[in-house]
Amino acid sequence: MFYKSKFFQSFFLLLFLSSLLLFACSKQEETAVMIPLQSHAGEVHLSDFKNQLILLSFGYTHCPDVCPATLLHVSQALNLLSIAERKKVQAIFFSVDPQRDTPELLNKYVQYFHNDMIAVNAEGLNYSRFLKAFNIESQQLSDDPNYEISHTSYLFLLGDDAKVLDIMGHETAAKFIAEAIRKHLKD
């Protein structure tokens, strides 16, 4: 009898915890724009970029091939835009490696590609909430100091309230990224 009540206790506790988790998860997506992110200039949120499209990419500075290639495409796409168009877009690089990529390091990294780009990271719960909001998976591959991270490498074009307007593969050429931006600037 004792065991039985213990069982029910744990069962209800589990039920309570999972409903809490569910509630928290549904809440997460609504507040993606409010998640505090760290840039070299201080805390930023996606909601700070009012009346601008956001071109969001994910990566890390220890990634030698795909991440620099993607940021190169993004910077070339920005250069294809007119100055007026460029003012209406903010390119943001989110680091999937907050352990090694400090905001200062990240800033130097993206400045190499384009002066208009900003880079951010987030830690702990904010990190996982942000990745979850965009359905990004990341996985550290070893405990080696030179570890690598497998991660989803999509480029997101976001509108108001971080609404996803377009999702592009990391290999998308600059002119197609620029076209996607122009299409949504008109809308």
Binding site: V66, H151, Y154
Partner: protein, 152 residues
């Protein structure tokens, strides 16, 4: 053969390795390194390996004075997620080519010792299981510099 001619011949031969990396059945071409952003501690290197011989070639190791470690990496995508794995077995059957190129399989230079600038030459040494050594000279390229498009 007269001595001056012999000296010239020796000089010419000594220049050869920098022009071509042929030193056995393995031919290594189109080697280059992506110029890493200033804070990056890694860089990607690219090249094409071709087995011009008639026997299997197994790569034992590759290293460079420019980095603590160099690895062959296999890139794969699944559901938009990018996976990198070290290729433990780099092997080429007779006549086979392995291409390591941008956005695909590549070489990862880990823990760079110095800043790599555009135009720098990076030396890499590849050793095969049979003990042959190949010297590779890869130029560092700044990919931000737009190449002119040629229309043929």
């Amino acid at each position: 053969m007269k001595k001056p001619c012999f000296i010239i011949l020796v000089l010419m031969l000594s220049v050869l390795p920098s022009l071509s990396v042929y030193a056995g059945d393995l031919v290594i071409e189109e080697a280059w390194v992506r110029m890493p952003p200033p804070v990056a501690e890694t860089a990607a290197a690219y090249m094409t390996l071709t087995n011009k011989g008639d026997k299997l070639i197994m790569v034992e190791s590759i290293d460079s004075e420019a980095a603590a470690k160099v690895e062959f990496h296999q890139m794969s995508m699944s559901n938009g997620m990018m996976h990198m794995a070290e290729m433990k077995d780099v092997r080429l059957d007779a006549g086979e080519s392995l291409v390591f190129k941008a956005g695909s399989n590549h070489l990862m230079m880990i823990d760079l010792k110095d800043t790599l600038k555009a135009g720098d030459k990076v030396s890499l040494q590849l050793t095969t299981k049979d003990g042959s050594k190949y010297q590779i000279h890869a130029a560092v390229r700044d990919m931000r510099v737009q190449k002119h498009e040629h229309h043929h």
